[in-house]
Amino acid sequence: MARKAVATKTAQSNVPEFTKEQELSAYREMLLIRRFEEKAGQMYGMGLIGGFCHLYIGQEAVVTGVTMASRKGEDAQITGYRDHGHMLVMGLDPKGVMAELTGRQGGLSKGKGGSMHMFSNEHRFYGGNGIVGAQVSLGTGLAFASKYRGDNTVSISYFGDGAANQGQVYESFNMAKLWNLPAVYIVENNRYGMGTSVERASGQPDFSKRGISFGIEGEQVDGMDVRMTYDAAKRAIEHARSGKGPYILEMLTYRYRGHSMSDPAKYRSKDEVSTMRAEHDPIEQVKQRIIEKRYGTEESLKDIETEIRAIVTEAADFATTDPEPPASELWTDVYAPA
């Protein structure tokens, strides 16, 4: 049932090829996430961002490939608290995201949500959810709405290897299969649920198999290669959209930073991190291909880099100069207008 393609080993044989446009687009998207998150990390260190701040650095290929495979703005997406990258790829304004991180009035949630709570009806991005695993039931509800309306959209729910052990995930799998909902579940397996490795937390560490008892197909995917995440997501989304019901993709990925900014990540070795960075970095992989295939030059990629840095700098400037929300905002948005 579960097609097992441990992509780090089999990647060479069946890797889909990207066009020039796809390679450049993926490069740009992933680089934006990387530079944005690096900046957020800096700003956190400067005390400009408070509370929890979970960076997506290292995992960029997952959301980038999946979003490229989806209908942007039509298909719903929802994730947990490691959500900055998802918003950027889905096209939300980096200024609004960064200003939310700094708790300013121009933030996507007017400064009232913070790092873990941002949403966009327009882009069909439903957060940004702080409770581990909750987004899986919510995302299943988005899929339910798609089917109820018959609007041919799908719902994509991202969750981590830690969340994969929450009970409501399986309640949701069951209902999604029972009602054949157009739900794509993306397990972002970055190997650690906070400080606990998958091996120390999971009886069945192959998360692509977690749907078997419900009759949900799953695949393991090299989550560091954007071509693989794209290709698998194409299959999964097509499966869901065509009325065949839910599908699980386990993306084998890695976060370079700690769980949150306050996590020193002493539960893993420096070697482990540096090996991943050196050999599997999702952005370096694309960059090398672009050069090799002459889709671009060192020079033209530098131009992209410069452009991205300008966007991030602009976002950071806005997020540090935009005023805090007025005190009157304390009392608004508690109850919806009738």
């Binding site: 719903a76 949630s109 209902m175």
Partner: protein
């Protein structure tokens, strides 16, 4: 055991119909044989023989309505028994009082004992928009809730009902009866036993613009789902800076049922009323149940709608108007008076009403307020009343600490301190998990005498 007693189908059943006898006098029966069929307005059940023996006498003929639970319905002569033994002893005949409350609030309870005067204290006075001379239809709270959902579902196809046993089974408590037949399985959806999951699924569907009605078989089981209710539904609008609404109704029976023990008998009123971003509604009468559920379904704010199993079968008059929608957040003055203010809601209103009848008869001019909505709470009406009476007694089934009464006391002390002639006084459920034993359960719940005693204390009559 020669006497066969009328069984209860549910902890709150008080009476039922003996619809059919499957044996006749003189028949020999053995354990497991079906003796009779009984039914209530929400279920039917077979009565099985426990012992072997001969059916000596059928006491209640088939077709009899209103057979009280625990009334003898037949006598079966056991092996070796002689007919003389079969006379039911007084101990066997004595009905076991399983209901926590004696049923005698006349205009809300079916089969009220004759002789209790129908007092006018529950007249709906403060609700707007009722044309003069409107026809009033008697119906149960259950029917009122059912009508509210059906009417709203006819109006808006984005509304669907989801929960355990809501469709094919017609509702665990028959509140969703007939909805599947009218609206089909796309809109009336049986779920697996998976509260956390389907509560979250409902909230997600609401994010996407649908208007789910999520039924919990009881609110006790919603504890599994409370994270989705509070963290996902209630906070969503605020966390999104006003962008994403969750127009969803979570509904089901709340509060003590009868003899079901601690895990199935508790009142969540105070729990949910604590949470900004929720509306919390807890109606008592059939009319309020209908008008407020319709309002809840139309609300763009998530609503926790707390029904009560014991009240489902109680009847009341509901105005026959095309669209009976009541305002959420408005208390109802059930009786105007000047001596003392009693404030309650949902099942507490039954104790409060009965106490009020007795107190009024004894010359105490009680003002009785039914909060109906717990959040937003109509404290203005309560404070105005206390300014007039100088005395406050609150009645609720929930625990005392951090309860609705505690909140009301705090509000009244803050806003009407100079008007108070006595300390605000709470009548609550006792500060213990609900016991199972009948006598202890009775002690754990508030009762009419406690309400009267509290009023006597604050009016210095005792």
């Amino acid at each position: 055991m020669p006497t066969i007693l009328m069984p209860a189908l549910s902890p709150t059943m008080e009476e039922g119909k003996l619809s059919k006898w499957l044996v006749k006098e003189g028949d020999t029966v053995k354990p497991g044989d079906v003796l009779a069929e009984i039914e209530t307005d929400k279920a039917t059940m077979e009565v099985e023989s426990v012992d072997s023996g001969v059916v000596q006498k059928i006491i209640v003929p088939e077709g009899t309505e209103g057979v009280k639970v625990n009334a003898p319905i037949a006598m079966v002569l056991g092996e070796g028994e002689v007919p003389g033994d079969a006379e039911p002893s007084s101990a066997q005949l004595k009905p076991v009082d399983i209901a926590p409350v004696k049923v005698d609030a006349p205009n809300t309870i079916p089969a009220a004992p004759a002789g209790v005067p129908p007092v006018a204290i529950l007249e709906v006075a403060s609700d707007p928009d009722l044309p003069a001379g409107v026809e009033m239809v008697e119906m149960t709270v259950r029917q009122a809730l059912n009508e509210a959902m059906a009417e709203e579902m006819r109006r808006d196809k984005d509304i669907f009902v989801m929960g355990e046993e809501v469709a094919e089974y017609q509702g665990a408590y028959k509140v969703t009866q007939g909805l599947l037949q009218e609206f089909g399985s796309q809109r009336v959806i049986d779920t697996p036993i998976t509260e956390h999951g389907f509560a979250g699924l409902g909230v997600g569907a609401a994010f996407a613009g649908l208007r789910p009605i999520i039924e919990f078989m009881t609110w006790n089981f919603a504890m599994q789902a409370i994270d989705q209710i509070i963290n996902s539904a209630a906070k969503q609008l605020y966390m999104s800076g006003g962008q994403v609404t969750a127009p969803i109704v979570f509904r089901g029976p709340n509060g003590a049922a009868a003899r079901v023990g601690a895990q199935h008998s508790q009142d969540y009123s105070a729990w949910y009323s604590h949470v900004p971003g929720l509306h919390v509604v807890a109606p008592f009468s059939a009319a309020d149940a209908k008008g407020l559920l319709k309002a809840a379904i139309r609300s763009n704010t998530p609503v926790v709608f707390l029904e009560n199993e014991i009240l489902y079968g109680s009847t009341g008059l509901v105005p026959k108007v095309d669209d009976y929608v009541l305002p959420i957040g408005k208390a109802r003055i059930a009786r105007q008076g000047k001596d003392v203010t009693i404030v309650s809601f949902s099942m507490g209103m039954r104790y409060a009403t009965q106490a009020t009848e007795k107190l009024v008869a004894a010359g105490v001019d009680v003002e009785l307020i039914d909060l109906r909505t717990l959040r937003p709470m109509d404290t203005k009406t309560v404070v105005e009343s206390v300014k007039k009476t100088g005395r406050l007694v609150t009645v609720e089934e929930g625990w005392p600490q951090g309860g609705i009464g505690a909140e009301l006391a705090a509000v009244v002390v803050a806003e009407a301190f100079d008007y108070l002639d006595a300390p605000p006084t709470r009548v609550t459920g006792k500060d213990v998990p609900m016991p199972y034993a009948a006598n202890l359960e009775k002690l754990a719940l508030p009762n009419v005498d406690e309400v009267i005693a509290a009023v006597n204390a604050v009016t210095y009559r005792s």
